[in-house]
Symmetry: C2
Subunit: 490 residues, 2 copies
């Protein structure tokens, strides 16, 4: 369901790329800080941890020996590490399967006091070409090659496809939605079932949107206050409260995902400046509360979301305040929500240079292939979008020349596959004529095959961009891509 795509107006304001003054913060100066003040930082961290450990009401025995009896998240995610774990008769444990063994980092997260000093979320930029960059984000569940496209698994799985099918397209990470999982099956239920990785069988990295966006766009009844949002479920009308603290608890503790998004408020565009400013300022305050709630988690990561609509001064205010606070990564939110592509790109031109070069940059809910190319050209590293799967369910297949509408009778006897250069059965093994027939017959496999092809096409596009940047040839790649796209749109 992620962010919707509507662009029916045009704007031609010139882009205004500005470089923000570098600031020292948690991420920017990690190496220096470690060298200069490792002792002091460690002491402070241990202090904070102790505070966390000596949670009021915890009947803890003295001494360290009892730590290995703390309840692990897999059994009791709500109170993980906060009470002693005494295995009960009905506790299921982890089922054996043909997967890799549990990683050391995964196990380490279960006993945070024993963890080494933070080396979490290394982001290595291997090459740049203009503003575009390629590299790799390392999480405890695997490496994410950037620029990365993250397929959307709203309810915990990508619509229509198995985990293996999604992985076969080249996806390193899946995006799920806090809002949907919170309502159904419920975050506490996912926690009881071992967290979102065990529940969904996706053992790679998972990122979750915070739910703020869907609360704004989907919930019928909602009351917004400084505290958070109270809303009624679109499924059964039950009341829910989502605060910054609850958003972190759900994502980090109950779902147990690898990248957590702050709770934000995201107005649909166009909107009055005052409204955009109010939402941006509140999102900033929520970001600080999310950071406080997130604390010193070692192998999970918290991303802030820059808001401010298409107003450059509001974006600057948002970006500078968030960077000063210090997060593991920075998302650009509140775009692709109604504004023309040119305004989105102008906003990116103004915003991306304000974000620290060393941290990943994530453009939320975007977009069509041409949008991905333009945003990578401006320094974006991560994307999610429902377009490939949603349009696949509606009979559209994507290509460098835009979407192919397979309902069209011109494909009724077209023996060529969608793209025999893609290593995806849906792209390579079926003729357009057969896919046209399946779409016309409203066959289930039409939706599956086109979603599958589209994800494979998107992942291949990201790979081509990574290769072009590594070869310092991204400018030519982007120019050729733009030209073919524009020709097809004529």
């Amino acid at each position: 369901m992620a962010r919707d795509q509507r662009r029916d107006r045009r704007a031609d304001q010139p882009s205004q790329a500005r470089r923000a003054p570098r600031r020292r913060n948690r991420h920017d100066g990690a190496e220096d800080a470690r060298v200069r003040g490792e002792r002091g930082r460690r002491a402070e961290r241990d202090l904070r941890r102790d505070r966390h450990l000596h949670h009021p009401g915890l009947p803890l025995p003295r001494g360290r020996w009892a730590l290995d009896q703390f309840s692990p998240a897999a059994l009791d995610a709500v109170h993980a590490h906060r009470r002693l774990h005494r295995p009960g008769a009905r506790q299921g444990g982890v089922r054996p399967r043909d997967r890799a063994a549990l990683s050391l980092l995964f196990l380490r997260r279960r006993v945070p006091l024993l963890a080494e000093p933070a080396v979490s979320f290394p982001f290595a930029i291997d090459a740049t070409d203009g503003a575009a960059r390629t590299g790799a984000l390392t999480t405890s569940r695997g490496v994410i090659r950037t620029p990365a496209f993250m397929p959307v698994g709203t309810a915990g799985g990508v619509k229509g496809l198995s985990v293996a099918q999604v992985k076969s397209t080249g996806a390193d990470i899946m995006l799920a939605n806090t809002y949907h999982l919170m309502l159904r099956p419920g975050a506490e239920r996912v926690a009881r079932l071992g967290g979102l990785h065990a529940f969904s069988s996706w053992d790679g990295p998972i990122i979750t949107d915070s739910g703020g966006y869907q609360v704004m766009s989907l919930a019928k009844l909602r009351t917004l206050s400084e505290t958070g949002v109270v809303f009624r479920s679109h499924i059964d009308g039950a009341a829910y409260e989502l605060t910054p603290e609850r958003a972190v608890e759900i994502q980090a503790d109950l779902l147990g995902v690898d990248i957590i998004m702050q709770l934000d408020e995201c107005p649909a565009l166009p909107a009055p400046r005052a409204e955009v400013e109010t939402a941006m300022e509140r999102s900033l305050r929520w970001a600080v509360r999310c950071k406080r709630a997130f604390g010193q988690r070692q192998t999970q990561n918290l991303f802030a979301i820059v808001q401010g609509g298409v107003d450059e001064s509001l974006r600057r205010r948002s970006a500078e305040a968030l960077v000063a606070e210090g997060f593991d990564g920075y998302a650009v939110g509140g775009l692709a929500v109604g504004e023309p592509q040119a305004e989105m790109l102008r906003t990116l031109d103004a915003t991306v240079p304000l974000l620290p070069r060393e941290r990943p940059r994530y453009l939320m809910g975007v977009g069509k292939p041409i949008d991905l190319v333009e945003a990578v050209a401006r320094g974006i590293d991560m994307f999610d979008c429902v377009i490939p799967t949603r349009s696949g369910r509606h009979g559209q297949a994507w290509s460098d020349a835009g979407p192919i509408n397979l309902k069209n009778a011109r494909y009724a006897e077209d023996r060529a596959p969608l793209d025999e250069g893609l290593d995806c059965p849906a792209s390579r093994d079926y003729s357009k004529a057969f896919l046209h027939h399946l779409v016309k017959s409203e066959e289930l496999f039409a939706q599956v095959a086109l979603s599958w092809h589209n994800l494979a096409y998107y992942q291949r596009l990201m790979q081509r961009m990574r290769e072009a940047i590594a070869a310092r040839a991204f400018g030519d790649f982007a120019a050729a891509f733009r030209e073919r796209w524009a020709r097809a749109a004529d």
Copy 2:
């Protein structure tokens, strides 16, 4: 859509297994006939072929050298072998893919005059246990292990699944529907696209139902006469005529499938005896016309359909007349159309012994796992049914203990997979809790995963039966299966 499953009444008439007198016919005495009269038979076949070859209007050069210029079915299925093939600029040919090379038998079919004497459709019975038997049917596109369950791909593909997914369940052959393909995309269009194998990307054996059943059950306006059926498409109201000759032309020449079913008339039960008898007698006459239209095709096979409802004397009349005529295999049709299971089994008890032991026996449109076990116990070799895929789309997973309704809240926190003994990701890699969540969320993958699991379960059941028969332990297997099934139904 194959034959529907409705059984809501019970009957307890005793089964009456009777052995029919052996008859000599084309199949029963193939070896003897070949030895005794090979010369005469070859002469007669050549004569028929010449008649076929010297089709009025064919501008043929004299002599055999031109035969390799005859249009192959892949380019011109309607007039394959009837006119000279001069490749045009726009003719696509066969695309290269990562498949096995074209088989010699496949190529041989393209030039029937050069074919060797008929050794088509060898059916080897490897073991028997009581009436149950296990063996293998050999077609030019691969071997079908029997007893076999044939997944239903109504419109040319199994709903929701790729060819690779269906094959991964262990399926050797797919069933498609003449009626549906004739209406959309049209049999001539499939022929222009190279036949059903090329169109669907299913390179193994394909069987097609003749369309008679769907004309009876689906078409709104139809006029039935001795000639055939005229009906209006349920899609666009266009008028179609289906005669025995047209049914063979569509299946054998246009779709180019491996096993062709005769056109039959199949009344829904219960029906007055006179009505069932009229339909059975007409089906007999249509069988003879189908056989004549089918002629001497070397690598395709024609099955007759025994009709007669649940009336044993009508079944006997139908079976004996069809066996006397001689077909490559014999189907029992007109069952699982409203009668109780006990009546179906009683009818099988009376009918199967009338069919030649050496030929495959196919029970059409059946059924639930328990029905398959009961029918195999009575000597049936082949099945098709929509139950696994249709019930999968509705949230049901099959097991030895009957269907598991994943909508049920009892599975909301069930961490166990559907069946970790099955080599199918849908059966093994996802918890019932996750599948329950997908079903409740109306996620597309719920339908896909449950269809996939169900086909894997059905194929595994067939394999277990084949193994039990080979080990002469089928009686024990069936008894244990019946007991578990009955216990679950309580």
